[in-house]
Symmetry: C2
Subunit: 342 residues, 2 copies
């Protein structure tokens, strides 16, 4: 009659499904059904089980469920940064899309590192995820291999792949970079600099679009490019503006690979008494909240990051359920936001 576990017991001491079943006077199997598939149980037993759950404060053990059912209900999300608003918006979209689905999100921060991505994926694979959401298209060979051998559904976010079979949701980073550069060229700018930081794949593709547009217009000049691996910050934008002007004194426009850099460049211009856009046009990428409000308001590229997360999660969920999406690639596009700074 003793309630304490025998000395040789390995029981955790927590309330288990068997405890609930005993209290309700049913078999554990029935208690399980009453909780997970209530429609299959008579209302009388269901009520008795529900009451036992309440009285005992039963909390299901997710590990046991995952083990028995071979279904983890885990979705892994890998993003390169948590401090970059772009990716927190993506995460928000994912959460909203999956809100009612009882999925558990395992959020990994790769810090823009392929090695870190590999490490995280290695650990997260131990949780036997039902699906994976990845940022970007380029990954280490081992990551590619892990993904293939695991046969877990994957959706890539942010850019569009050239592989027609790869599920992805995003927009063409190359075209967006090209569009912004063409806009500046259309404004009559000739000496258009490009400032790139972090050098993640998206920045590289935007630079690719910039180069295409410059070459098309016969304006290409490698000295107009400043590329540094440091993280994008306002402070770095301010610094790189100075470096660009020192390197290319007749520069008449600067395309920053993102808004943080552009904000820093504009603040630096204000400090140096350089009028924007009259003396120097400046534009960014991503349209952060401050961009529309600052003086001068920043010309930039609006990107559908929230929607990317939402749609990618939706596509992944459909794939997990065994549905084949009509289109493997979902192009959400971008919007050129012409404002005051360029």
């Amino acid at each position: 009659m003793s309630k304490s576990p025998s000395s040789r017991s390995r029981a955790s001491g927590r309330v288990t499904l068997s405890d609930v079943a005993a209290r309700a006077g049913v078999a554990p199997m029935t208690a399980s059904r009453a909780i997970n598939q209530p429609d299959l149980v008579s209302s009388l037993l269901r009520q008795r089980v529900e009451q036992a759950v309440q009285e005992l404060g039963y909390v299901p053990n997710r590990a046991a469920r995952a083990l028995a059912s071979a279904q983890s209900n885990v979705i892994v999300v890998l993003v390169p940064s948590l401090s970059n608003t772009v990716f927190t918006a993506v995460l928000q979209g994912i959460q909203d899309a999956l809100d009612d689905d009882n999925y558990q999100l395992l959020i990994g921060n790769t810090r823009y590192s392929d090695a870190e991505e590999e490490k995280l994926l290695n650990v997260y694979m131990q949780s036997n995820p039902d699906g994976i959401l990845l940022s970007g298209l380029t990954h280490s060979p081992r990551v590619q291999q892990m993904l293939e051998t695991s046969r877990v559904p994957v959706v890539s976010m942010m850019d569009l792949s050239s592989d027609p079979d790869l599920l992805c949701v995003g927009f063409s980073q190359v075209e967006a970079g090209q569009a912004m550069t063409r806009y500046l060229i259309g404004k009559g700018k000739k000496r258009i600099g490009f400032i790139g930081a972090q050098l993640d794949e998206r920045t590289l593709r935007r630079a690719e679009g910039y180069r295409k547009a410059m070459a098309d217009a016969g304006l290409a000049d490698t000295r107009l490019e400043i590329m540094v691996p440091d993280p994008s910050t306002i402070a770095l934008g301010a610094e790189l503006l100075g470096r660009m002007l020192a390197q290319v004194p007749d520069c008449d426009a600067i395309f920053c690979c993102n808004d943080d850099l552009a904000h820093g460049a504009i603040y630096q211009c204000q400090r140096r008494g350089i009028s924007v856009p009259e003396q120097l046009a400046i534009c960014g990428f991503n349209d952060l909240p401050a961009s529309a409000w600052m003086k001068p308001a920043l010309t930039t590229v609006g990107t559908p990051r929230y929607k990317i997360g939402f749609e990618a999660a939706t596509m992944l969920r459909a794939t997990i359920r065994g549905e084949r999406p009509a289109h493997a690639h979902l192009d959400l596009g971008f919007t050129l936001m012409a404002r005051e700074s360029a």
Copy 2:
């Protein structure tokens, strides 16, 4: 001799520890030791097991491990927002503190809602976490109860509790609000407005500090307070600046409960031709990256959010290991950043 599982098998098809053991010619127990406690196994067998792991591409099943060992190695983190830089910095600190510890972080976004916090905790408790990191001190009664009955170690972040037994890492939000208000009073300001949004507990405590300082100086006037439940954004700051000036035309300073609001207020002043700080002093809270760079540079309160995350995670880890921290409360302080705007 067939490799395919029998039709009645429930096996997942994945490589298991038994497969590794069979390949290495050892018992599963020995394979387990070779992987998790290699020092307890002879180097010969260890090597054979390691090789089998490689050849088979073995990935341990975390659910099985958690179930058998009654140890999840999961730490739950609940933050009110992922779009607020403050909390992403906290998360970064947590990740850095726990980096080498094989903990799996379950990050939950409560969206500033007690009900959502309750819902998340309910789900996350199913993972049997080893520890929990919470934002703030106030929670719903059911959350409090879940925490108590579960006996899982908890560390609260951001503020300092009045309960001496509650583990917490942060700083006094009340004192910070008071300090900033006193600073403005010291600058000769008489009609100091307070703009509060979101109305989360930190904002309410900062407002409490503001009221104390105003009352102490005989400057209290409830019309000087604007409190709205909407999320803090630049746009809202711009709007509320207008509302404050309409309501209190002789207002000579505005204390915004955070930097986003303050940025919006300053941008709005620029648009209206109001000089800051000459006509109107404006200050914020948190010292976001843009604050030091914008013109005028924002006077604000610097807060140790990264360190809060780092130290809270460190304290939690120690507690999980059974150590008693020397002090239950860790006060990391704040810094008044006097700049141009006030």
